[in-house]
């Protein structure tokens, strides 16, 4: 018999929230979740699930929710709440099930707070019809019952005073966010980071939407300081990164990507970082890569480059130069030349690589910058084997970036493609011109 559950979400990065919930539901094969009551402007979402285990699986990894509760009832006033709880189909079952459990009450709220105004003891007393006989235990109780008040905020900065609704439920699972993931991976506390490091919150969300799984292989071809490797490692994948710029992945002294993993107690998850041009890839072709998650270079901090000579004539015959009897290019300190490359071409290569290396249903997720200033249609790169599953936008002032998530559907899929087309209308130049 399915039961009702209340998902309590956060009202940040709302453009990513449903994608995260859907991806985690899909990951745990919870295909019966109905999103028809899901609303972007509300932190509450009531769903039906078969049991607590499903609720735990679903929300445990979530970054954009706070928790999931067994739903007992709601009301505009406390009186209404109480009568709704008592009228609930499962009321008698719930009452007898938790009759002897140790428990405590918690109070939570959204959009305002009753602090000071609500007499909590009296409020708890008003639930005496639940007839709980177990001991109250503030530390490690068997069950946590939660009163959640929803207020209407006066505006973004001023909390509301008038409660709109009150919910009551039994806590089933707190989210990863609530359990400290954001603090743990906060960039401020990370030993090795750089100007291109990706913030903790959205990198973890990206890993969830990409469905990074424990014991599988995740690859970031533009690893930089390893932000996405850390996010993938957090969810138990064996992570491999590469970057054409060896300085970034090497770190400095004791500040290295490896040191970050050590600090997080996740050294096992970190396989290696390689100095490598993604477009001249050395990962063997038959190695299955379960997930590809990355933030490709936009060409803002440094222009996009791949191996090769910009002016091949200048390098003609250089391969024959010898130093101390050994070809110059075979010396340990040889630095190969690189040539400029376009973002469009790089993303085409990325999609092609994903279509060759991901297993069926495996996901590719990457961030793409878009200028908002001109009325130019944003063209999303497409590959005939890859289904574009999500296109989540994070808006900034004059530009935005998108998390694009693709699923490998194989050669039978025959989707639309736009490889080889110029799409991004030179994001870098326009970024530096201030986007007019």
């Amino acid at each position: 018999m399915p039961k009702k559950y209340l998902v309590f979400m956060v009202q940040v990065h709302v453009n990513f929230r449903r994608a995260e919930l859907e991806s985690l539901a899909d990951l745990y094969k919870l295909d019966s979740i109905n999103f028809k009551d899901y609303k972007e402007d509300s932190p509450f979402f009531i769903v039906e699930l078969d049991n607590d285990q499903q609720a735990k699986d679903w929300i445990k990894r979530s970054i954009l929710t706070r928790g999931i509760y067994e739903y007992w009832g709601q009301g505009i006033t406390y009186d209404e709440l109480h009568s709704d709880i008592r009228a609930g189909n499962n009321f008698e079952d719930y009452k007898s099930c938790y009759k002897n459990s140790t428990f405590k009450f918690e109070f939570d709220c959204y959009g305002g707070s009753s602090s000071g105004k609500l007499d909590r003891v009296a409020c708890i007393e008003s639930f005496k019809y639940l007839e709980f006989e177990g001991k109250i235990r503030m530390k490690n109780p068997d069950e946590v019952f939660t009163v959640i008040e929803e207020y209407e905020p006066i505006n973004d900065n001023v909390a509301g005073e008038k409660p709109l609704r009150v919910f009551f439920g039994r806590l089933v699972q707190r989210s990863d966010r609530f359990c400290g993931a954001l603090e743990k991976y906060d960039l401020k506390k990370r030993p090795y980071k750089g100007t291109t490091s990706f913030e903790a919150e959205l990198s973890l969300v990206s890993a969830n939407i990409a469905q990074v799984k424990a014991g599988t292989i995740m690859y970031d071809p533009f690893a930089g300081t390893g932000s996405f490797l850390v996010a993938g490692g957090h969810y138990g994948a064996a992570v491999i990164g590469s970057d054409i710029d060896g300085r970034m992945i090497r770190g400095k002294g004791s500040q290295t990507i490896r040191a970050n993993f050590r600090k997080y107690g996740e050294s096992l998850q970190f396989i290696d970082v390689l100095t490598m041009d993604f477009t001249h890839n050395a990962l063997r072709s038959n190695l299955v890569i379960d997930t590809i998650l990355c933030d490709p270079p936009y060409g803002i901090r440094e222009s996009i480059k791949v191996l090769g000579a910009k002016d091949p004539e200048k390098f003609a015959g250089k391969e024959n130069v010898e130093i101390n009897g050994l070809k110059a290019y075979l010396h340990r300190d040889y630095i190969p030349t690189k040539k400029p490359y376009s973002l469009d071409a790089l993303l085409d290569d990325l999609l092609q690589f994903a279509s060759e290396r991901l297993p069926l249903d495996g996901r590719l997720a990457f961030w793409m910058p878009v200028a908002n200033d001109e009325n130019i249609e944003t063209v999303i790169p497409m590959h005939r084997n890859l289904e574009l599953k999500y296109n989540c936008v994070q808006e900034f002032n004059k530009w935005s970036r998108r998390l694009l998530v693709y699923i490998n559907r194989g050669s039978e899929y025959n989707g639309p493609t736009n490889a080889g087309l110029e799409r991004s209308s030179n994001f870098r130049d326009r970024y530096f011109k201030g986007f007019n």
Binding site: G236, L274, H280, Y329, L330, T337
Partner: protein, 133 residues
């Protein structure tokens, strides 16, 4: 660079993909400096899933390059439901070899084109000169 990673790396030169000699690379035993990182914890479940991905012939080839010829000729098979004490001993050995063994300095060569790649500060450099790119 972990021993495990030697199992993932082929030559970056695209033309070498047409040969069967671009994987694994050949490791120069005399120039490879190894180090054990014993702080990396042993997790049999994780390791089993990684071993699934491993090409055993390549493990044997690289181990022999680095002077270890004591490995079983066939990839060990585990009944993942119930690991015996004997299984655990083998898994621990594989953990030591694949996960804890690092090549911190060294050289590796493509058996097809002969290009030499270097490992510096535990990081392999797979970049190519323009005439090979």
């Amino acid at each position: 660079m972990k021993f495990l990673t030697t199992n993932f790396l082929k030559c970056s030169v695209k033309e070498c993909d047409r040969s069967n000699d671009n994987f694994p690379l050949r490791y120069n035993g005399e120039k490879c400096q190894l180090e054990q990182d014993e702080s990396i914890e042993f997790n049999p479940e994780f390791l089993l899933r990684i071993i699934d991905r491993v090409d055993w012939d390549a493990v044997l080839s690289v181990a022999s390059d680095l002077g270890n010829s004591s490995l079983p000729p066939k990839k060990p098979i585990f009944e993942s439901e119930q690991l015996s004490d004997e299984d655990m001993v083998i898994l621990r050995d594989l953990h030591t070899l694949l996960i804890q063994t690092n090549i911190i300095e060294g050289e590796m060569t493509c058996k097809n084109c002969g290009h030499i790649y270097y490992i510096k500060n535990s990081i392999p450099n797979l970049l190519l000169p323009p005439h090979l790119a």
